[in-house]
């Protein structure tokens, strides 16, 4: 069922045009790399604030509200360019172990901020100015840094398993 969907995407006109293009595919790839800098670079700043390593004098909520719009912009670039690359390679990506690992890690990295926002972040007013934030907030920062690092490694590894 999933394989069928992947094959259908792969065989579609747009998928085929991207795959067989001279310029479009490398341009999307490059956009994906640039978006990575924006997305992971900015979320890492917030993660480091939670760990008490960066912007120590700033309120956590202030850092979050200034940085997260950039992170979301990066996410939009990453999701769009990533989906276009998948469109062109879907039938091959389906079998790619690095791609499968990346999807699992992406799911986890999406759950992490959900848990963070609906638990410890609700009481941010009480620890907003602490250099070292509560354990659960620090754990969210560590998970985020570790998961994004894993996602980048898995994404890069896709090229080494693609046949």
């Amino acid at each position: 069922m999933v394989l069928r969907f992947c094959q259908w995407l792969y065989d579609s006109g747009i998928g085929t045009q991207i795959r067989e293009s001279i310029w479009v595919f490398p341009i999307i790839e490059t956009t994906h790399v640039l978006g990575m800098a924006l997305l992971v670079g900015t979320i890492a700043m917030l993660d480091l604030r939670l760990l008490g390593l960066l912007f120590k004098q700033e309120a956590v909520s202030e850092v979050a509200s200034r940085i997260l719009p950039l992170t979301w912009a990066g996410f939009a670039v990453m999701f769009t360019s990533g989906f276009l690359l998948f469109w062109a390679e879907a039938a091959k990506s389906y079998y790619n172990p690095a791609f499968r690992l990346k999807l699992v890690l992406l799911l986890l990295v999406g759950l992490n901020p959900l848990v963070f926002h609906f638990t410890i972040y609700r009481s941010v007013a009480t620890w907003n100015y602490q250099v070292v934030t509560p354990l659960r907030a620090r754990m969210a920062g560590v998970f985020s840094l570790a998961l994004w690092t894993g996602i980048i490694c898995a994404g890069r590894a896709i090229a080494y398993f693609q046949k």
């Binding site: 310029w23 595919f25 490398p26 790839e29 062109a88 090229a159 080494y160």
Partner: protein
């Protein structure tokens, strides 16, 4: 007491500055080291430079696709058996720069491929040189992959 303290703080801040400068150099060096990664994957990641192979046969399938173009060749073994071999080359852009056209290779064409076998032992080869039906010999390797015949990769001592 206060004088001692400020001296201590000065020494500490100099140490921190030195550590920061060293860290910045490390980050910069890491970026420089990452530049060769722009090639999709290196020759040696997938193929064995000590296992050259020559494949002569009829083209059965062509995948004109990013990030690598593949074509498949039916090769007759000495025992008379037909084996279908996959041949990996550069992507469409890399091949065009080497003088390929999209219709340079067609299903049914008789070709001779000089390449290197995949490390995993499968019927896959990196097609370094392909002799096309019109007698033209073209380079099929990915530019900058560091494999045999790659003129765009930096060699030690360059």
């Amino acid at each position: 007491m206060s004088i001692d303290n400020s001296m201590y703080n000065n020494v500490l801040s100099i140490k921190i500055m030195r550590t920061k400068a060293a860290f910045h150099r490390l980050v910069f060096a890491t970026f420089l080291a990452a530049i060769p990664l722009i090639a999709h994957h290196s020759f040696s990641a997938e193929f064995d430079g000590t296992k050259p192979i020559q494949l002569a046969g009829v083209v059965t399938r062509i995948e004109w696709a990013n990030p690598h173009v593949y074509f498949y060749v039916d090769v007759k073994t000495p025992s008379g058996k037909i084996e279908n071999w996959g041949c990996e080359t550069a992507g469409p852009g890399g091949l065009l720069r080497k003088g390929w056209k999209r219709d340079s290779l067609k299903v049914g064409d008789q070709v001779t491929v000089n390449g290197y076998r995949a490390k995993d032992g499968s019927k896959l080869a990196d097609a370094r040189y392909i002799t096309l039906p019109d007698g033209h010999r073209v380079f099929g390797g990915t530019p900058g992959d560091g494999g045999p015949g790659d003129t765009e990769a930096k060699k030690p001592g360059d």
